[in-house]
Homo-oligomer: 372 residues x 2
């Protein structure tokens, strides 16, 4: 009997929102390779390669790297739940939607969480973190490197020093930076770092690369209580991704194929060239937006190359215009999240989406649909 559902035939979209970004044909092809078992020696060899390639892209040669079997938010939760024990003081830096999410999660794991805020779109100074930690020490300081809701790029180096001076672990969200903007985990001094596959790495969503410094792994192994989450319990999962190869859950085989191929593409391009490409295409976008009288929300000094938030003039029918882009030109960009809803657009130029031809296509379409 033929299915009452038609054959899958999605339109080819230009994905210029906050992710998923477009996926290179080589990555799509990798997913159609026949499956291996999750304990097959050939898959174990592939796991080692993925872990090596992740150390390369995190720039952390001594980190323990694990592609968590969920999307970016699962990486966030794996990082938080594995390092929080009940009552642990945690300092959560919030300058956007994903900082709020970290606080929500930390609270669910019964951290004694303290928030500090700067307005959405701005970034924290090392002094603010220093003062907060002087007033109240913390076991963990969490911050977002590239806020997907605001388009702000948070400098990390000095804050890492401050956190370490106060004896805290430095936990950083690099969902919208890894593979598009330097993360330099080891040089910066990040202890725990996670990302997603569907942003600057340009694999489909479904895995969350997580990296832990040797010090962080020591802290993890010295936990006194069980992690209050089973699926994301890194004390168990590191036994599958470590030399023991003890079964925990069945790894998403095809997604790991995809991630490996996406990371090979990063390696072939080289990190420096890749970061320069992201920067160059973003600058072309910003120039083009200026010519259309559209202004990025974030000042250029801490503006993300991978994701630009555009301030919208009052009264603009932003939903209708996004629909016109999608229906008329097969282009996806996104609206604002949370308090930025209706106030900004979010334009992503990430990974395989970050190409000059995509920038001119978007600018050309915007020119035609924007009210004169």
């Amino acid at each position: 009997m033929k299915s009452m559902y038609t054959e899958l035939d999605p339109p080819t979209r230009l994905l210029l929102g906050p992710g998923p970004s477009m996926v290179h044909p080589r990555v799509l092809r990798a997913m159609s390779a026949p499956l291996l078992g999750h304990l097959d020696p050939q898959f174990v060899a592939l796991m080692n390669e993925v872990q090596d390639l992740l150390r390369f892209v995190f720039e952390a040669p001594d980190a323990l790297t694990i592609p968590v079997s969920g999307t970016g938010s699962a990486g966030m939760e794996a990082a938080l739940c594995s390092f929080i024990e009940e009552g642990d003081p945690v300092l959560v830096c919030i300058n956007g939607y994903f900082g709020e999410r970290m606080l929500d999660m930390a609270t669910r794991y019964r951290a004694d969480a303290q928030r500090i805020d700067v307005p959405w779109g701005q970034v924290f100074s090392p002094k603010q973190i220093d003062e907060a930690l002087k007033a109240r020490p913390a076991k963990i300081v969490t911050i977002v490197h590239a806020e997907t809701s605001t388009g702000a790029l948070q400098p990390l180096e000095e804050i890492a020093e401050v956190a370490h001076r106060h004896g805290a672990l430095f936990l950083v969200d690099t969902v919208t930076s890894l593979g598009g903007i330097p993360v330099k985990m080891k040089e910066v001094g990040i202890d725990i770092c996670y990302s997603g596959t569907q942003k600057c790495l340009s694999a489909p969503p479904g895995l969350a690369p997580l990296a832990m410094s040797p010090h962080a792994v020591d802290v993890l192994k010295a936990r006194k209580s069980k992690v209050a989450n089973w699926y994301l319990d890194m004390t168990l999962i590191l036994k599958y991704w470590g030399p023991e190869r003890t079964y925990h859950h069945t790894a998403p085989i095809s997604m790991n194929y995809a991630l490996r191929e996406a990371l090979r593409l990063v390696e072939e391009e080289g990190l420096t060239a890749r970061f320069a490409r992201h920067r160059r295409n973003a600058e072309t976008l910003w120039e083009g937006l200026a010519a259309l009288d559209l202004t990025p929300h974030v000042p250029i000094g801490h503006r993300l190359p991978s994701l630009t938030t555009v301030s919208l003039p009052d009264g603009l029918d932003e939903v209708g215009l996004r629909k016109a882009l999608l229906d008329g030109y097969n282009i996806e960009i996104a609206g604002g999240l949370g308090s930025f809803k209706g106030k900004v657009w979010r334009i992503g130029l990430m990974g395989y989406s970050s190409r000059p031809e995509n920038v001119v296509t978007l600018l050309g379409a915007l020119e035609r649909i924007l009210p004169k």
Copy 2:
């Protein structure tokens, strides 16, 4: 620069272990379709189709169905964490490795969990559950339909009645049954039911179909406390998979393509024909094993067709023989889990792996490698 890692080229394995099972070429092909955004109207339409197809395969036309963004164990944890509030009495029926896992998870969510046991490989009688609930009522009764560690098939109908008579929710693990053995969620009276994609549905691992009856959804919505897990919090996720389509996390797009195609294949074959195929090929396997003097661990009355545990004679080099199967014939079968380690093999005939040609290949290879 060419990558120092070679092009992906995994060997073609005959996957006859406990999962992942083999994936139909149509499903592999579906994953190479270009990505849609997770809020694209075309993806939203696909989500509706996946949910409809899941209702079909669960045989639960009024259930709320959601493909959880993780592997089968994430489905287990989503089911437990979303329905457990601190101190809730939960009765956990344990006759294998995955019952133990449910208890571990329930405890992490601070359930007041009570376990009842029968030996591994055996199944529970309704009377045992009735007595346990008389002695101590529970909010939730959990049981495994098809124990992947033992190969036992647990009858459900009467236990569902018992659980409901005592006012409990009936929560069932169908990881190794859904799509290969009748689950009949509505007719049986299951309130909460989850599975994995990589077993009898024959999609790659990475999603966990979850189904909740209307009554279960009411209970979920009436929770007094926040779910103690963010990523698997069904009170939030049902807003993305429900009419609101509110962003929670980025859905694994390509994996949902794969699941849709795998479910289309189930629909085209028809449930009755599919269950008969699983049964027929299992019987051929059992006859062949008998001819090799190998005995299934579970008596035929409650033996799973999708997964057979084989009792191993003392002194057999089971690890060496499995290596010979893999290296010499590209066939994967699995050893035992937990207390069954070294004592059984686990042979899966699930989904696209359940084919007569695979059964004869395995039997032929076993005949050649087994000690005379």
